[in-house]
């Protein structure tokens, strides 16, 4: 239909009818992903990019559980790859941001918390 007002009304109608469903599916995806992510962090005890990738794969698998095992595997692969891409982008960003500050601390000697090397006296005697 021509006319801006017609199109606006049509799009508003579509938004009102589809928004709950779309928001609901996003909420389910995000909620399930965060749940699995936090559980994995607790179980493994360390925070890793691996947690996010596995969480994405498991979320994709669970949400496709109605369509049989083959669909679950495909959906898991898609979720895992999507999250691997997002993690890669995050890592790139942090690396890029850290190289913006070129002057780091000058590290030429070992930290003071360490005692002098245990075998240095031995070498001196030689």
């Amino acid at each position: 239909p021509q006319g801006v007002s017609h199109r606006l009304r049509g799009s508003l109608r579509a938004v009102r009818s589809r928004a709950p469903q779309l928001g609901g599916s996003f909420a389910v995806w995000g909620g399930l992903f965060s749940m699995i992510d936090c559980s994995m962090v607790r179980v493994r005890g360390k925070e890793d990019p691996w947690n996010s990738i596995t969480s994405g794969a498991l979320t994709g698998a669970i949400l496709a559980a109605r369509n049989g095992p083959v669909a679950m595997v495909g959906s898991a692969a898609m979720g895992g790859i999507l999250l691997a891409l997002i993690e890669g982008a995050g890592i790139l960003l942090t690396r890029f941001a850290s190289t913006q500050f070129p002057n780091g601390p000058q590290l030429s000697e070992d930290p003071s918390q360490l005692q002098p090397p245990p075998f240095s006296n031995y070498q001196q005697y030689q």
Partner: protein, 235 residues
């Protein structure tokens, strides 16, 4: 029109045959009908309807094809005329559009490939800070002094970003005496009364194997009493 009329007469014979066969109809036409009616007696109801339908559609289809042929001829002629109207300018526009789409696809594939390469190197290469952090955490978890100070289950994490995720491990790479060194710093936490500690790791590149070897690992206990536990020292 001719095949349609023939079909209708055959149809008519089939329709009338079952009624008349009992009467032993007269005439040669009916004779063939009676000859065949014994055969066709049980089958006509099944054959008649699809036959009627097919004949109807055939006749209609013949008519439609004739019209369709005309329209097809017209459309073919029209297309031929339009093709010659596609001048060089239109062709250049089409080619330009295809080219930009191709460039967009290439850029997308390049970006995706780059991201995959980054994540692959980060997770699987042995010289990535994440791998070194994982190995150092495992060594800390199996060290008796650390277990005594922090408890059984030790959690490890890195720098906290604004969203609260702590996946990034702060590291610095530098070159000393022609060999690559890397220093890492991450935090560990135990279950015993909220004890927290900072782990400092330094690795040095082994020139023969090309892998990173641990130079030292030591842990600063941040909570009171402050002390330093040396896990490994290979200097």
């Amino acid at each position: 029109m001719l095949p349609a009329s023939l079909g209708r007469t055959c149809l008519g014979r089939w329709l009338l045959a079952p009624r008349r066969c009992a009467l032993l109809g007269t005439g040669t036409g009916a004779g063939t009908g009676t000859g065949s009616c014994l055969r066709w007696r049980h089958r006509p109801p099944l054959l008649l309807r699809p036959a009627r339908q097919s004949i109807g559609t055939q006749a209609g289809g013949l008519r439609a094809e004739k019209y369709g042929d005309n329209s097809k001829d017209v459309s073919v002629q029209r297309a031929r005329n339009e093709e010659t109207l596609l001048s060089a300018a239109q062709k250049v526009k089409e080619a330009g559009r295809d080219f930009t789409y191709f460039i967009v696809v290439l850029v997308g594939i390049g970006v995706t490939g780059g991201l995959f390469y980054v994540i692959f190197k980060e997770l699987f290469s042995s010289s990535s800070p994440n791998k070194i952090y994982g190995d150092a955490l495992e060594k800390c978890r199996s060290h008796p002094q650390i277990i005594g100070a922090f408890g059984d289950s030790i959690k490890g994490y890195g720098e906290a970003t604004r969203r609260g995720r702590r996946q990034h491990v702060s590291h610095i790479e530098y070159v000393k005496d022609g060999l690559k060194h890397m220093r890492l710093k991450f935090y560990i936490e135990g279950t015993e009364s909220g004890k927290q500690g900072t782990v400092h790791v330094e690795v040095k590149e082994n020139p023969e194997t090309g892998r990173f070897e641990v130079r030292y690992i030591f842990v600063d206990v941040d909570t009171y009493p402050r002390r330093t536990i040396v896990v490994e020292d290979n200097r």
